[in-house]
Amino acid sequence: MSVIVVEVMPKAELLDPQGKAVARALGRLGQTQFSAVRVGKRFEITVDGPADAAALAAVTELADSVLSNSVIEDVVGIHVVESVAAAAAVN
């Protein structure tokens, strides 16, 4: 089983109140070298069988139509990893 990872971020030009709140909390911890935080989403989609072109095409379509809303978000990355464990290990 393969895993297709989809990453979605709030549009760069829009305010991200969640990221702002996190950034302020970092500042309170004395971490003043970080000037901004933006918070996005990562989806790990497990595929029955190989993550072939058809599966990738389906996920790419769903990334645009369901996993993100193009009015307020951008899909910033779609890639394949071997498994959920591998996805965790990469990071």
Binding site: P10, L14, L15, D16, P17, Q18, N69, V71, I72
Partner: protein, 232 residues
């Protein structure tokens, strides 16, 4: 007139919407998200709440519900549809209305009686208002900041599709102080504030006359009823 109110998992204001419809003089019909059946209603309300706990994006999962296929068909056929708060979010997610809603600018959930100016009194849900009438109804949301591309915003403004604008204070950072919009046809309206909570004296916002006596929200519901009578 029969007006359907769709209940989704996590809807909160479905019963209040039904009550508002009853007080306005129509018959409320409870509809269920999991059915493919509008039970022959003449208009629809998508109520407020936190469907699916706002998972994915507010209104996103509900916009994929079975009944939404029928809601989208009916809306495209001209049936009046009002989305309130979470219902507004669903209508944008279902592409029945343009724009989108993001977290409030200040990062806080806002709950207050909100002054609005009704700038479009020709939509199916606002014909009972006079042009630029100022009203007060409750507002309560965490993700009510209206966003749209500059081209979309320009088109909405140019076509008079801003239904309501915040006045006094912009509570959530919405572009252009936008509180509600309509589609080109004027049958689909999305509103962030809650008209269904200002429909009965004693239970509404305070007014200059008396505490809790505000019933400005009722006009949205009486408007759609009057509209139906004209068309009958």
């Amino acid at each position: 007139m029969r007006i359907g109110v769709v209940t989704f998992p996590g809807s909160l204001d479905d019963r209040d919407a039904q009550r508002a419809i009853r007080l306005a003089g129509a018959e409320p019909v409870a509809l269920w998200h999991g059915e493919h059946d509008l039970h022959g209603v003449d208009a629809l309300v998508l109520p407020g709440g936190f469907s699916y706990g706002d998972y994915l994006r507010a209104g996103a999962i509900a916009s994929l519900s079975p009944i939404m296929a029928e809601v989208i068909d009916a809306a495209n056929g001209g049936m009046p549809v009002l989305g309130i708060c979470n219902g507004f979010q669903m209508l944008t997610e279902a592409h029945l209305l343009e724009g989108g809603l993001i977290r409030n600018e200040a990062g806080r959930f806002i709950c207050r009686d909100q002054q609005l100016r009704i700038e479009n009194s020709t939509s199916d849900w606002t014909t009972g208002f006079t042009a630029n009438q100022e009203i007060t109804i409750p507002l309560k949301n965490g993700e009510g900041s209206f966003m749209a591309s500059s081209e979309t915003l320009e088109r909405l403004e140019g076509e008079g599709r801003i239904v309501a604008r915040y006045i006094g204070v912009n509570p959530n950072g919405s572009l252009g102080d936008i509180a509600g919009v309509t589609n080109a046809r004027g049958n689909v309206v999305g509103l962030m504030p809650h008209p269904e909570h200002a429909v009965e004296a004693g239970f509404g916002p305070d007014t200059a006359q008396a505490m809790s006596s505000g019933v400005d929200g009722l006009t949205f519901f009486t408007s759609v009823i009057a509209r139906a009578l004209v068309n009958a």
